[in-house]
């Protein structure tokens, strides 16, 4: 029970990775708010898992304010904030409309900004005598590009820079800020990427394509949402009390290697 007595809010808490984080936090003894557009999120089924659901559109400042008012009234403080809400437009810049570009930034970057901004007063309270922890979602795509994901790559680079800036500004108040940068993780977002046009499939079936992608990984697999939740849990816990301002790549070794040439 690494998070006993702590209160956590997870945006995108009904999505692929967010849902795994919510259930891990519950197992570790935290009081958990799962915030998302709808109780179902991107997955078909809504588990009654013991979390408290909050309807939150991260692009709307009024939603962020209302969410924090609810957390404040019910819990008094917020120890852990996970900004896991995100979207991925699978297009080059030429194909991306201005509306899609703006929506990418609104969810992935502005959403992280707004939720964090309005969480800070509650997190300052939680940090008294210990530390509070904000965990943003960057991506290995913020360091190196996948084809046909231009707006996504750009938003994740922005999240990385924002993470360092927030760590620098709020560390002295006891608030740690880190980003997790997942590689390929088995989520609805990944399945959408494989079935879209952006994957460079070259006539391969989706199964063949997926196996080819797994084989490029030193661990010969891609990650599960639980793999990501494992590190989120560590960063949220007091064990990580000196970890701040970092971008934590979790990708099965994918980006430790050079481009895999077909020699």
């Amino acid at each position: 029970m690494m998070l006993k007595g702590k209160t956590a809010l997870v945006t995108g808490g009904r999505g692929g990775i967010g849902r795994a984080i919510v259930s891990r936090f519950l197992r570790e003894g935290a009081r958990v708010y799962a915030a998302d557009l709808s109780p179902e999120g991107s997955l078909a089924k809504h588990n009654e898992d013991g979390s408290i659901f909050i309807t939150l559109d991260v692009t709307q400042e009024a939603d962020a304010v209302a969410a924090m008012q609810k957390v404040g009234a019910e819990s008094g403080q917020l120890d852990i904030l996970v900004n896991a809400a995100g979207i991925e437009i699978e297009k080059t810049i030429e194909e991306t409309t201005l509306e899609e570009w703006n929506l990418s930034f609104a969810v992935n970057v502005t959403g992280t900004f707004l939720t964090s901004k309005h969480a800070l007063p509650l997190m300052r309270k939680a940090a008294q005598g210990t530390t509070a922890s904000i965990i943003n979602f960057g991506s290995y795509d913020g360091f190196i590009a996948d084809p046909g994901l231009a707006a996504y790559c750009a938003t994740k680079g922005a999240v990385h820079a924002l993470t360092r800036a927030m760590a620098c500004d709020h560390g002295p108040e006891g608030i740690r800020v880190n980003a997790i940068c997942p590689g390929y993780v088995d989520t609805p977002m990944l399945q959408s990427f494989f079935s879209g046009d952006g994957s460079g499939g070259g006539g391969k079936s989706i199964d063949q394509l997926q196996q080819a992608v797994r084989d490029v990984h030193p661990m010969r697999t891609y990650g599960t949402p639980d793999d990501i939740a494992n590190l989120v849990n560590w960063l949220a816990s007091d064990e990580a009390r000196y970890a701040s301002g970092q971008l934590w790549v979790l990708d099965g070794g994918l980006s430790a290697q050079v481009q895999q040439m077909k020699l």
């Binding site: 494992n230 560590w234 990580a240 701040s244 301002g245």
Partner: protein, 246 residues
């Protein structure tokens, strides 16, 4: 007990970060072996196995790997630093720093990788100094960059059987940090200045690094490999410009 049933070897467990890792691993149920150049420290827990070992001695390392019959977790922590520029470094300095920090890590990895089971985890202690230069630490900085490169290679070559990651500590309260401040004209002022450069407003402790090592050693880190994980209280996330300027 996150490491129950696992065997761990931690080099350089006499003091500092190595000792912190030894203690954390013991607490979590691992059977821990550690080593150092001298005799067994008197304050080392009696459940810990101690070998007197110079990691620069390839034959001795190979013998240890045979004697211990491998390990599940290998932590290459043993390291030395010499506070000199390139121009001032002697051949003896090269031998000491490169011998321990580079050759030593290589010796241990070469001897142990064939004897590590599926699911094994290697944790190398790199440094933020492998990314950004500490002044007058030329060979040390370079040696840590070597460790980072070797870490990625092992991950790529020996995955999926073995995971390999490095931890890059920032400024940790150890004898090494004191030695660094002793170089300053006014060590107290230097210490105060350094603290304001850390977002968390403190230096690290060996247990801060040990908790990351524990996570990487555990099965929870099953998808983590080939990475350099920095734990530095936010120092390298900020620009090195003097904080007094703003």
């Amino acid at each position: 007990m996150r490491l129950a049933g696992k065997r761990a070897l931690v080099t350089g467990g006499r003091q500092g970060i190595g000792r912190g890792i030894v203690e954390a691993f013991v607490r979590e149920g691992a059977a821990v072996t550690t080593c150092g150049r001298g005799t067994r420290p008197t304050d080392l827990g009696k459940e810990v196995i101690w070998y007197t070992l110079d990691v620069t001695d390839a034959a001795a390392v190979a013998e240890l790997a045979f004697t211990t019959d491998g390990t599940d977790i290998l932590v290459n922590n043993a390291g030395v630093q010499v506070e000199k520029t390139v121009a001032d470094s002697t051949d003896a300095d090269w031998k000491a720093v490169i011998g321990t920090n580079c050759r030593g890590v290589f010796n241990l990895c070469r001897a142990y990788i064939p004897r590590m089971p599926e699911g094994g985890s290697i944790i190398n202690i790199g440094s933020i100094s492998g990314h950004v230069a500490d002044p007058s630490m030329a060979l040390y900085n370079a040696s840590k960059a070597f460790v980072h490169g070797l870490t990625r290679s092992i991950a790529v070559d020996h995955g999926p059987r073995i995971r390999c990651n490095a931890i890059c500590p920032g400024w940790i309260e150890t004898g090494m940090l004191d030695a660094g401040f002793d170089l300053a004209g006014d060590p107290d002022a230097a210490r105060k200045d350094a603290l304001t450069r850390h977002a968390m407003r403190r230096f690290g402790k060996p247990e801060d690094i040990a908790s990351m090592a524990l996570w990487l050693a555990s099965d929870e880190a099953g998808f983590a490999t080939g990475q350099l994980f920095t734990v530095d209280g936010g120092m390298t996330a900020a620009s090195p410009l003097n904080p007094g300027l703003f």
